[in-house]
Symmetry: C2
Subunit: 160 residues, 2 copies
C-alpha cells in the first residue's frame, strides 16, 4: 500500500469515528433531554437559537440555516413547537413573504429549565473522558473541520 492510500484509509477511519461518536452521543443525550424537558434534540436546538437571540425571534430562513434544517424541515418543526405553545409565528412588516419564529413565554420558561439540565447532563456524560487539555485540543480540531465544511458547503460564505 502506498503512503497516500494509508493516509486516505486513516481519514476514512477518523470520519468513521466522528460518525460513531456523534450518533452514540445523540442516543445518550436525546432520551435524557426528552425525559427532562419533553423536547427532541431538534426542538431543543431550534429553541436554543431563539433563546439566545436578543428579541427571542428569528426569521424562518435564518433559523433554518443556523440549525442545519432544510426550509421545509424547519416549517414542520416550528409547526410542532407552535402546537405545543412554545413558539409563535409573527409576520414580518418589512417583507410580507417573511415570517418570524418567536419564542413564547412558555417556551422561555421551558428553556430556562431545559438548558441547564442539558448542560449538566453533557457534563456528566463526558466527565473524566478527556483531560482539560485534550478537550481544548479536540474543540480546536473540530472547529477547523466545521469551518472547512462550511466553506465547502457554501463557497464564499463567512465563517462564524
Amino acid at each position: 500500500m502506498t503512503a497516500e492510500q494509508a493516509r486516505a484509509d486513516e481519514r476514512l477511519t477518523t470520519v468513521g469515528l466522528l460518525f460513531e461518536s456523534t450518533t452514540g452521543l445523540g442516543r445518550i443525550f436525546e432520551p435524557q433531554l426528552s425525559a427532562d424537558s419533553g423536547l427532541s434534540r431538534q426542538s431543543f436546538d431550534v429553541l436554543v437559537r431563539l433563546a439566545r437571540t436578543p428579541e427571542h425571534r428569528l426569521r424562518m430562513s435564518e433559523l433554518a440555516s443556523q440549525t442545519s434544517l432544510t426550509p421545509s424541515g424547519l416549517t414542520r418543526s416550528v409547526d410542532r413547537l407552535e402546537e405545543s405553545g412554545m413558539v409563535s409565528r409573527e409576520s414580518c412588516p418589512d417583507d410580507r413573504r417573511g415570517a418570524f419564529a418567536v419564542l413564547s413565554e412558555r417556551g422561555r420558561v421551558v428553556m430556562d429549565d431545559a438548558i441547564p439540565l442539558h448542560i449538566a447532563h453533557i457534563d456528566e456524560v463526558l466527565d473524566g473522558v478527556l483531560t482539560p487539555s485534550e478537550e481544548r485540543t479536540l474543540s480546536s480540531l473540530l472547529r477547523k473541520i466545521r469551518d472547512h465544511v462550511h466553506t465547502v458547503e457554501q463557497p464564499g460564505g463567512p465563517g462564524d
Copy 2:
C-alpha cells in the same frame, strides 16, 4: 461564572462542534456517494461491514450493533439491500432464530467500485484541513469518546 460552569459550557460547545461537523460532512458525502454508487450512507455502511468480514457474512444482530442501527432499522435496511440484489439472507444452522446477512457477488462488485471512490472523496474533501499529526490526534481523541460512549450505552460490553 464558576470554573465548573465554564468547563461545562466548553463541553457543550465541543459537543455542538461534533454535531455540526458530522452533519456537515454527512451532507457533503452522501450526495457524492449516491452519485458514484447509488448507495445511501447507511447502505454503504452496512455493505462495508460485510465486505470487511472474512466470509462476507454477519449475523443480523452483529451487523446492527456495528452500524448503530436498531434491530428494526437493520431489518428494513437489509430488506432494501436484498431487493436490490446486493445482500441475501441465510439462516443460521446453529441457531434457528438467527439469520446471516451475506454479501452477494453483485454486492461485492458494487463495493469494489464504491469503496475506493468514497475513500478518495473523503480524502479530497479533508485534504489540507489538518496536518498529519493533528489527524492522528483527532483520531485518538475521538476513539476515547467513542469507547466511552459504548461503555455508557452497553455497560459491561467490550470495546473493539
